[in-house]
Symmetry: C2
Subunit: 198 residues, 2 copies
DNA sequence: CTAATTTCTATGCAATTGTAGAGAAATGTC
DNA sequence: GACATTTCTCTACAATTGCATAGAAATTAG
C-alpha cells in the first residue's frame, strides 16, 4: 500500500534526545540533526513537525524515562534510603540520570530555548513536580515511620533537594564528567543520614 | 585629533553583561546586541573584537565583580557566618549574585557556547576556583577556631557547596525568580549551623 | 580653513538557518 | 504489470547570521 519508513521512530527520538542533550537546541542544526538521527528532511517535518517538534518529543521521552525508571523506587513506599539511592544514581555510570552532558531538562530551561515555550514549560514543570513529589512522599513516609524529626519542613526540604539535583547536573555538564557533582551528593546524603539517626 | 567615541566602553560592557546574562550567547544576535548596548557595528569589531570578544569581556566583568564584591567577606578572616551570608545573597534583592536570570557563568557553561572555548573555559574555571577557595578558607578558619569537627573533609565540603550554588542559580533561572533557590539555601544554612553548634 | 585621524553609518556579502515543494523511489493491491 | 499511496531525494528559498568594506561625519592640530 505504501513505501515503508526507512527509520525507526522510537530510535530516532532516542537519538534526537542524546543529540539535543549533548549540543543543546540552538547549536544543533537540522542537517546535523538529520545525520545524527538517521532521519531525512521530509520525515523530520511530516512525522515530527520539524526541529521544534522533534525537540519536544525528545524532551517528553527523556522525562518519561527518568520519571518511570529513575524515580520509580521513590514513588510508593520509598523513604530516606530511596532518596539517597536516587541522589547516588546522579553520579553513577549506567544510570540514565547520570551524564557528562548534565540533564536535558536543566539544559533546556537554562538555554531558555526560544521554542514555543508553552508546551516546553509544561514538560519541564511536570518533570520537576514529579521529582519534588517523590522526595516529599519519601520524607513523609520517613516521618510517618518516626525516622525523622516531626519538626522537619518536608515540603521545603523536598524543594531544596530538587534545586540540589539541578546543581549536580550543572556540575556534571560543566566539567563534562558524569560524577563531577559527587561532592554535593555526598553532602546531601550525609545530611539525610544524620537526620535519620538523630 | 580624532572624533570622540559615542559610547562609554564601561557602560557598554555592563549592558552587554546583562544582555548575555538574560538571553544567552547564541540567542542574542549582533544587531540586537548593538541596540541593547548602544554600540555601533564598527565599534563592536574594532573595540571589542566582535560578538565573541564582547562576550568574553562581559564574562570577565561579571566574574571580577562577583569575586571582588560578593566573595570579598569570605576572603580573609571569613568563617561559617560569612559562608551563610554569601549563600543568602544568592536569593536576596540587590545582590549582584541574585538574579532571575541565574548566573552568567553557569549559563555560559551549560549553553556550552561554541566560542573559542580556551579563554572561555579559563574564565569560568577561574570563577569557580575562586569560589571554592573562599569556601575552603572559611571552613579552614572555622576548623582552626575549633568551631567545627576536625573530621570534616573541608575540601570535599567546599566543592559540594560550589555545586549547590550552581543549583541555586539554576533554580532561579528556571523559575525566573531571584529567590527561587531559597529552599536549597535554607537547607545548606541549616547544615552549616548544625555543624557549628555540634 | 585645511589636513589628519578616528569614529560612525550604510550597504552588502558569504554562509547558515529552518522550511518547503516537486519529482523519483518503493511498497501493497488489484 | 499497472496503480495508488506513502516515503524519500534534490533543489531551492526567504530569512537571518556575523562580519567586512567604503564613504561620510566629527573632532583636533597646524
Amino acid at each position: 500500500m505504501a513505501r515503508p519508513k526507512g527509520y525507526d521512530p522510537e530510535e530516532v527520538v532516542k537519538r534526537a534526545t542524546y543529540a539535543f542533550w549533548q549540543h543543546g537546541y540552538q547549536a544543533l542544526g537540522v542537517r546535523e540533526l538529520e545525520r545524527l538521527t538517521g532521519l531525512n528532511q521530509f520525515a523530520l517535518r511530516s512525522e515530527f513537525g520539524g526541529k521544534e517538534g522533534l525537540y519536544l518529543a525528545a524532551l517528553r521521552f527523556y522525562s518519561e524515562q527518568a520519571i518511570s525508571i529513575a524515580m520509580e523506587p521513590m514513588r510508593d513506599s520509598g523513604s530516606i534510603p530511596e532518596i539517597i539511592a536516587f541522589l547516588r544514581s546522579l553520579i553513577t555510570d549506567g544510570s540514565m540520570t547520570s551524564s557528562p552532558y548534565g540533564c536535558l531538562v536543566v539544559n533546556t530551561g537554562i538555554e531558555n530555548a526560544r521554542v514555543g515555550s508553552a508546551d516546553l514549560d509544561k514538560a519541564a514543570r511536570h518533570y520537576w513536580d514529579a521529582l519534588e513529589n517523590c522526595f516529599e512522599a519519601c520524607l513523609q513516609n520517613a516521618l510517618d515511620a518516626g525516622r525523622i524529626s516531626t519538626s522537619t519542613d518536608i515540603k521545603a526540604f523536598a524543594k531544596g533537594l530538587v534545586s540540589a539535583v539541578m546543581g549536580v547536573h550543572a556540575q556534571n555538564r560543566l566539567e563534562g564528567k558524569n560524577n563531577a557533582g559527587r561532592h554535593l551528593v555526598d553532602l546531601l546524603c550525609e545530611q539525610l543520614t544524620a537526620m535519620e539517626t538523630s
